[in-house]
Symmetry: C2
Subunit: 631 residues, 2 copies
Amino acid sequence: MTFSIAYHAPDGSQLRAEIGAQETLLDAAHLAGVAVDATCGGRGRCRSCRVKILSGQVSPPTLQDTLQLGHEEVQERFRLACQTHAAGDCSVTAMPPKAESGFQILSGQVDFAQSGRLQLDSGVVKHLIQASTPQGEHHQTSDLEEILMQLPAQIERQVSLDLLRKVPGLLRKDKGRLTVTTFGSEVIDLEPGDTVSQSYGMAFDIGTTSIVGTLMDLNSGEQLASVGGLNPQAQYGGDLMSRIAYAQFDETKLSTLRGKILSAINEFIREACEKAGVSTDRVYKIVVVGNTCMHHVFLGVDVSYVGLAPYAPVVRDLLVYSARELPLKAAPNAKVCLLPIVAGFVGADTMACILATRIYESEQIRALVDIGTNGEVVMGSKDKLYACSAPAGPALEGAQIRHGMRGALGAIERVSIDDDVNCKVIGDAPAIGICGSGLIDACAKMLDAKVIDANGLLRKDGMPGLSPALQERLFKGESGRQFVLVHKEESGKDHDISITQADIRQLQLAKSAIYSGIVMLRNVMGLSNEQIDELMLCGGFGNYINIESSVKIRLLPELPTERITYMGNAAAVGAQMALLSETERLRSFDLAQKIEHVALAAMPEFQDIFVEGMNFTGETFAEQDRRAASS
Amino acid sequence: MTFSIAYHAPDGSQLRAEIGAQETLLDAAHLAGVAVDATCGGRGRCRSCRVKILSGQVSPPTLQDTLQLGHEEVQERFRLACQTHAAGDCSVTAMPPKAESGFQILSGQVDFAQSGRLQLDSGVVKHLIQASTPQGEHHQTSDLEEILMQLPAQIERQVSLDLLRKVPGLLRKDKGRLTVTTFGSEVIDLEPGDTVSQSYGMAFDIGTTSIVGTLMDLNSGEQLASVGGLNPQAQYGGDLMSRIAYAQFDETKLSTLRGKILSAINEFIREACEKAGVSTDRVYKIVVVGNTCMHHVFLGVDVSYVGLAPYAPVVRDLLVYSARELPLKAAPNAKVCLLPIVAGFVGADTMACILATRIYESEQIRALVDIGTNGEVVMGSKDKLYACSAPAGPALEGAQIRHGMRGALGAIERVSIDDDVNCKVIGDAPAIGICGSGLIDACAKMLDAKVIDANGLLRKDGMPGLSPALQERLFKGESGRQFVLVHKEESGKDHDISITQADIRQLQLAKSAIYSGIVMLRNVMGLSNEQIDELMLCGGFGNYINIESSVKIRLLPELPTERITYMGNAAAVGAQMALLSETERLRSFDLAQKIEHVALAAMPEFQDIFVEGMNFTGETFAEQDRRAASS
């Protein structure tokens, strides 16, 4: 798939290039012969390749965009060309680089707060000091004091025993030249010589299904390596509730789950550091986000009561533990920071999405929707935010769907229907199943083609008005009524790939959960759809769904599609922001205290909204018949 | 040995009783028929048995005396009869009990600061709370917050992972009735039900030679059990410097020393708790004092450079570590607090002596002398304190003395000489050796009897003026010139118990170290002996020495003996005070910062003072001869 990029010059002329999904707008500029600088070599470390998107869909803003350009500019569709991929044909204009160079940013000479850009204040500071051993006749001092006196006064005088034991040897090595690492007011590492330039951190988003980790340079904000994979706990239950049920009232099983996640995180830390060629000993800060269950299991905290009404967390606070206490052995010197939980299942991952989207400073009403096995919805503006969690179940991830699968090679991800069905398969391989975004798209198109009605009923045999090819795909088999998307002979399996009536019901339950959550918050706030200025789709899954189809099946409310935007993996971005900036991390605590949690199950009207939300848009077959009869 | 106690009535009449060393002045009152109340049953928990010592020596004041009566009264020789033993014949008067009862003291209704008594503010507080599980429709709370909201606002919101993991189960046990233990602003334990009355702590004085531990009730200040024994590190070196030499630049050996001390402390904790019938889990605070070397080894901190000039400690601060970090496994919930080090070898034990004697608030100049293998001297008043450490070596503990031994059964502890020698042996057993106090006493009496002269020279054969019995005891044997204290046939050994010329030299080196330290501080302060109002002898050893003999041999300066007092094991008492009172513990940090350390080796005049200090009082034989010749 290629996209056409038009670069507009100030004189009105245009230069064009075609790029693929892997190429960036910087690549497009070079192909088109447009002079766009890349002072930092296309690593997102400066602002020389700044462009403005005039029209068309591009990839969600990255943390580097926010770091370099500030949130305001990103909202106004300014981007770093080196960080941006096309998601459709686009018009772009190259912008003159701002006055400051990228290197000024790194040295902290810019007033970040003024520029709206993310402040690089990770809390980790490396102090290169020159300390002498206690001198003088009556030496009313000690080795440790000789080191502390070279540090700012607010640094705590007591250090951990591990560090204290290093002191006498270190002070006498390398002529007392040593690097002291602090986090906040605490000394967290002591090393001989000058290691100031080597300061790293990791941000982890622990999802029910998968884990994403990013190694970052805390001095520059640069992403050094990305790692990730499936959550190894998945074998003990695919969704939150089955994961909780597994460990409920069973310490050994909780310990098993915890062991799995700690091993995985340890492995990811080692892998990322190896990729980037840095020492795991110099990973000083790790920010972890995840839903309430993942958060608790990571800490080894009992989730038994998290799974029982009223689903209260054991702890919601902003927490900081030493890696040794957890234990995360791969990064022994790190402080592990967990973002706060808002309430119930509105967890630290949602908090990270809130940080990343900055919905809390929006003048207009915005909504953010994180679609997963649990769907979280946050709605509001700078005045007030509401949040809820809707248990969507795993259907959108392909589970409990007859031919369902994850969004991987061979999965149907897009469907179009005219006289016959046409499927786009991931990797253009023979279809072996259908993923969540394919299921949404298929149902939307089946609705348009009147293969199903607004109640989700598959068309009965013998009803007129379908093309012969479509008619042929619709029949009742062993697993009930179904609609064939890919015939056996074209599929990568020895059977048809079809959607059953039961599959449609599962999708209806899942999408109604998300939809009802959005409607519920809208009702609590007394708003109409028109008053929602933007609906931001977060989460890996959100980036793959077809917005129009999602509105069609009422997974999303009926907003003009231009008001619905993809935000990328906002939870991971939020975790990275909290990693690079204590301002952001501490802000999350204030926000978590202020956001109002709406427990859907406790709202009397929720049941009705949910049942109504099962429906798709349009008419039922019965209504269609009545209309045909009356006309 | 018995002492005669005279109880004086207000009308001038007297009642008398004879008591032994194990009996108290309360026992004496009961024997004499004097009405002295003991409301608390003689446990030092009230003030009903208050007496005033009119004359005679009694045992050093205990912590209970200070707790109940305040330091001022103790200085004025008021005592609790139930805590006080006689050390000689005494005159006593029973005092009307003060208005408040002992139980008011415990409930904290008395203004301790006003009364001058020790404030019971151990920092450990047990809060009995009634917490409910998160309730309400939208439950913007968590299990932990439900507990924290029942606690004072200053308590930190973050608890250790171990405690966090206990939270959900505990909150749902015993209907949410639970006891939260805090130390300062930190939560250190969570237990179901009401355990408020069970709050314990331990104070340890880790000496080079021996360890003393006391289990105390933090609610009442009561001593529940005492434990102690030899320091198991002794096999790796008897004095500080040989202990340091053993572990110097050898992590494995340091680790061996540390392991020995941690095992011993763990065992003492278990033993004390078993004696008192309390749970080791409810030991919440442990105060440890010891000299710089013991302090560092206990923490596992390298002592290599502590043993090299300028003998600087690695750390001097007031430290608090969790028992788990050390690790002290026997008391997993405890906070382990170390008193600060002043400088060099003026360690946390000296700091404890300073707390116990309150020398820092003295109007007059006082000196405290802690006699051990290292002798520490502190001198000054509320205006200014000076401190030094003098390496006395182990001679005063009986080491490096031919027939030397510790102060145990069979040791000669007192010597009198007239026409012949008369020895008092510990336990009235046959003598098997001589302990430090015996050696001091022997030399003083030998000096009086002109067996030795002011230079410490043993009288030569043939010099006239000795009785035949004494003459017979003086001869030159295999180990040089010697003076027999106990003849072979009366001893518990198959040889004579004697003092050699070399023994006398060892004693001279040891006593001159202490004496020179005192003189040095006196010189630095520009004082004469007359200006020293009181010299307080601290340490186990200090309690056994004969004061007159110590002045005679110039171990102590020539002060009127009534100005020299026994203070008991002040280091242990100071540790107990810091255990019961955060006011005292925190005070120690301020004091340590203010005390001026005098490094003896760095003072140019020290060498001369030390050499001069080797001498005893009186004349040399040469002077005696000259005098005899000229008269």
